[in-house]
């Protein structure tokens, strides 16, 4: 007696599995777009950064020092009461960086980025810059955002 041929199985419906995946992808992407600035600047403090055509600093792990429009001072996400606190904190972080890399010559070599609101006075920026320099930071950059249409 001839054997009955088995019925070919229907291919699984991939669509119903891809549906939640696509949703999650869109959500992830939307979250990334919204948080891109804080993801790349190592701080969640938002300030209005001035724009510039010339960009010199590539993305790297840096110590962000922020001066807000209201004059509040932050190192990373920690609010600093005064300039001395900034000096101390920057020095601590630079020492930590050198210790982590087991190279005392790297003391002061971690990039420190001064993120100041574009509407504040230059005198205030200079004070903070001096405080950062007193914290043994040797590589200091002023944060800027690339101007659209700039070279």
């Amino acid at each position: 007696m001839a054997r009955e041929k088995p019925k070919p199985k229907e291919p699984p419906d991939v669509g119903q599995f891809l549906f939640p995946m696509a949703g999650v992808m869109i959500l992830t992407l939307a979250t990334m777009i919204m948080d891109a600035q804080s993801l790349f600047s190592n701080t969640s403090i938002k300030v209005d950064i001035p724009k510039a055509n010339v960009i010199e600093v590539e993305l790297e792990q840096s110590i962000p020092v922020t001066v807000t429009k209201e004059g509040k001072l932050y190192v990373q996400d920690y609010e600093m009461p005064d300039l001395q606190a900034i000096t101390q904190k920057v020095r601590e972080l630079q020492e930590k960086y050198a210790a982590e890399n087991n190279d005392p010559e790297l003391m002061g070599q971690q990039l420190t980025v001064l993120r100041a609101d574009k509407s504040i006075e230059w005198g205030r920026v200079l004070e903070v810059l001096d405080a950062v320099k007193r914290g043994k930071a040797k590589r200091v950059a002023l944060a800027v955002v690339k101007r659209k249409g700039g070279g």
Partner: protein, 146 residues
């Protein structure tokens, strides 16, 4: 008249159309990739001049110093180039010529304390754009500004 027979429904759940989803995800991704250079913060390196620690600013003598661009910004918008008042609109033309005479291509920049930070950044940007290798930030105790 005889009623038409309903067509038998297809078995199983309907397959969702993923076309629009993938379109939207792709366009979001492309938008994100295109705008990221304008969102992400970058930086401009600056050097803090040692002259800042001195009580009175010592302007480098022209014969000895390699610095050919010495800019000072006043709060009222006046710009001093090498100690002389200068039209800010002519700076983009003159700076490359002055820097061409310098070996290290360094520029000195100072500003009154009450100058808006954005304006100073614009000037640093201009100096760098026109070929300055390093911008030395200086603080003046005595300003020529009115």
């Amino acid at each position: 008249m005889a009623r038409r027979k309903k067509k038998p429904e297809a078995k199983g759940a309907p397959t969702p159309n993923l076309g629009p989803f993938s379109d939207m995800t792709t366009s979001l991704l492309i938008m994100f990739m295109l705008t990221i250079p304008f969102i992400v913060e970058s930086g401009i390196f600056v050097s803090r001049s040692l002259a800042a620690k001195r009580r009175n600013v010592v302007i480098p003598k022209k014969k000895k110093s390699d610095i050919k661009v010495n800019l000072h910004l006043c709060a009222d918008g006046t710009v001093f180039l090498n100690e002389e008042p200068f039209d800010p609109n002519r700076l983009p033309d003159i700076i490359p010529k002055l820097l061409a005479r310098s070996v290290k291509k360094q520029a000195l920049l100072s500003a009154d304390n009450d100058v808006i930070y954005e304006y100073v950044i614009q000037m640093i940007d201009l100096l760098k754009e026109k070929g300055a290798s390093d911008v030395l930030i200086m603080k003046r105790k005595r300003s020529k500004c009115k």
